[in-house]
């Protein structure tokens, strides 16, 4: 992810961070693109949002598995494998509600 792309994407955080929703489709990824290759396995989920009219698709928080109907919250987590010479890239992920 380019730094400019990262800067633009972080502007979406305030819109979605902390929003709750319901999982409408889910997959557990065992193979990922090179940016996420060290993060597998991780879930990828489609979430119907409670407040916003609409959906969002995001990675699931590390170590969590999801099923259709699960209640989740959007949180900030690392979304890309780290290189020593790069900034740590954070983004929105879904986690189960406590």
């Amino acid at each position: 992810m380019k730094i400019t792309e990262y800067w633009r994407s972080h502007q979406q955080w305030s819109k979605y961070l902390g929003q709750k929703g319901r999982v409408v489709a889910t997959s557990m990824m065992e193979v990922a693109a090179s940016d996420q290759s060290t993060l597998v396995p991780y879930a990828y989920v489609l979430v119907e949002l409670e407040q916003e009219q609409g959906r969002i698709s995001v990675m699931g928080a590390a170590g969590e598995q999801f099923m259709i109907g699960d209640q989740v919250e959007l949180v900030l987590r690392k979304i890309k494998k780290e290189h020593q010479h790069e900034v740590i890239v954070y983004g929105l992920k879904a986690t189960h509600l406590p």
Partner: protein, 372 residues
């Protein structure tokens, strides 16, 4: 619509280490000209289908690369619509012929994917998804979401997904150009490694190299196949913005347009090459194109209604799954393969269905015996 397929060629699909992108292009041009039995000077324009030569091969400007294979350098352009590039190039070429600007044109689809590793290939392919809205996904994971939704909504089973794979690999046994001429059992598919649940390795089409080409002409010809109609549908790039996850609406719209232009009924179509980039994609396509009602295609495939002797033969080539999926070549290969079968008298009418991304673009081309 008076457009004949006067030449067709499909190269072998697979991991073609010995051939470069340029080698594949040369093979396609020479092969299709030989089949058409025309002089190269008759090609008035070229439409090149390619998804990502700039990323896979660090080679852009593919129109010029194909045009320079001809001594008269016909005008050439590249058409890109992700995995639907081939279908779009055939549609663009058909439009050019219908306009009267040209009488005879070449459509060449090519992709050289195996010079990068799997992680790089996945990242390149993922650029056809929404970068801003689907970060962290891969195409297997996006189609896995569709599979998960379909399974819960319609009760589609793991075995039914596998039955798509088993059928298409069986079909590929008779296709000498197929990447995988090997049969699999339901159990072997069920036990292959998970890629993105519920999709397993054997649910996924492979990474492939390959070329396919057709020559289309509005001039009188003794060749048997013509394009009866075509249609193109569009939808949102990101799955999250779709109204209905159980349908690829672009496919439905493309088929309706194509049938209308062809002035035929869906029941006239005897065979179809559909875009089975994943097993669930064939189930969705078989429903979205109208061959079976929503929620009934998986059972129909499992019970043999889409193989030889069934209601409609789906993916006689082996589809993307077994024949291979060099993305830019796939849509052109579908048209080339069906043209060959129509010329051989196996079918009177058949459809090619080519999808880009997770269904944001879809093209349907209906081919049939020339009507005098």
């Amino acid at each position: 619509m008076d457009i004949k397929v006067i030449g067709h060629y499909t190269g072998r699909f697979g991991e073609l280490w010995e051939q470069s992108l340029t080698d594949l292009i040369k093979e396609g041009v020479q092969g299709v000209l030989a089949d058409a039995q025309i002089d190269q000077s008759e090609i008035e324009a070229i439409f090149v289908a390619n998804k990502a030569g700039g990323s896979f091969n660090e080679q852009r400007h593919l129109g010029a690369l194909v045009s320079e294979q001809f001594t008269h350098f016909p005008p050439a352009m590249r058409v890109e619509g992700a995995c639907a590039s081939g279908g779009l190039a055939v549609a663009a070429a058909s439009q050019a012929l219908m306009s009267g600007l040209y009488k005879t044109v070449l459509v060449l689809g090519v992709e050289k994917m195996t010079d990068v590793n799997t992680g790089e290939a996945s990242a390149i392919l993922a650029t056809a998804a929404s970068r801003e809205k689907e970060y962290g996904s891969t195409f297997p994971s996006l189609y896995a979401l569709l599979a998960n939704y379909h399974m819960v909504r319609y009760g589609t089973t793991r075995e039914q997904l596998s039955s798509v794979v088993v059928k298409n690999h069986r079909h590929a046994l008779t296709n000498p150009k197929a990447q995988f001429r090997k049969e699999f059992t339901i159990e072997q598919v069920n036990q292959s490694p998970l890629v993105a649940s519920p999709l397993r390795l054997l649910d996924c089409s492979p990474i492939s190299d390959g070329v396919a080409a057709v020559i289309l002409s509005s001039k009188p010809s003794s060749r048997r196949t013509q394009i009866l109609g075509f249609g193109q549908g569009q939808d949102t790039l990101a799955l999250m913005d779709r109204q209905d996850l159980s349908q690829l609406r672009a496919s439905t719209n493309a088929m309706q347009q194509a049938l209308s232009r062809a002035h035929i009924k869906l029941t006239d179509i005897q065979a179809a090459e559909v875009h089975d980039c994943f097993s669930i994609a064939e189930i969705l396509a078989t429903e979205d194109l109208g061959f079976f009602p929503k929620g009934e295609a998986a059972a129909a495939i499992e019970s043999g209604k889409t193989t030889i002797g069934g209601k409609v033969i789906i993916n006689p080539s082996g589809g993307l799954k077994a024949c291979g999926h060099p993305v830019g070549a796939t849509g052109v290969k579908q048209v080339a393969f069906l043209s060959k079968l129509i010329e051989a008298g196996q079918f009177d009418c058949a459809a090619a269905h080519n999808v880009g991304g997770s269904g944001a673009t879809a093209v349907v081309t209906i081919l049939g015996e020339k009507r005098s």
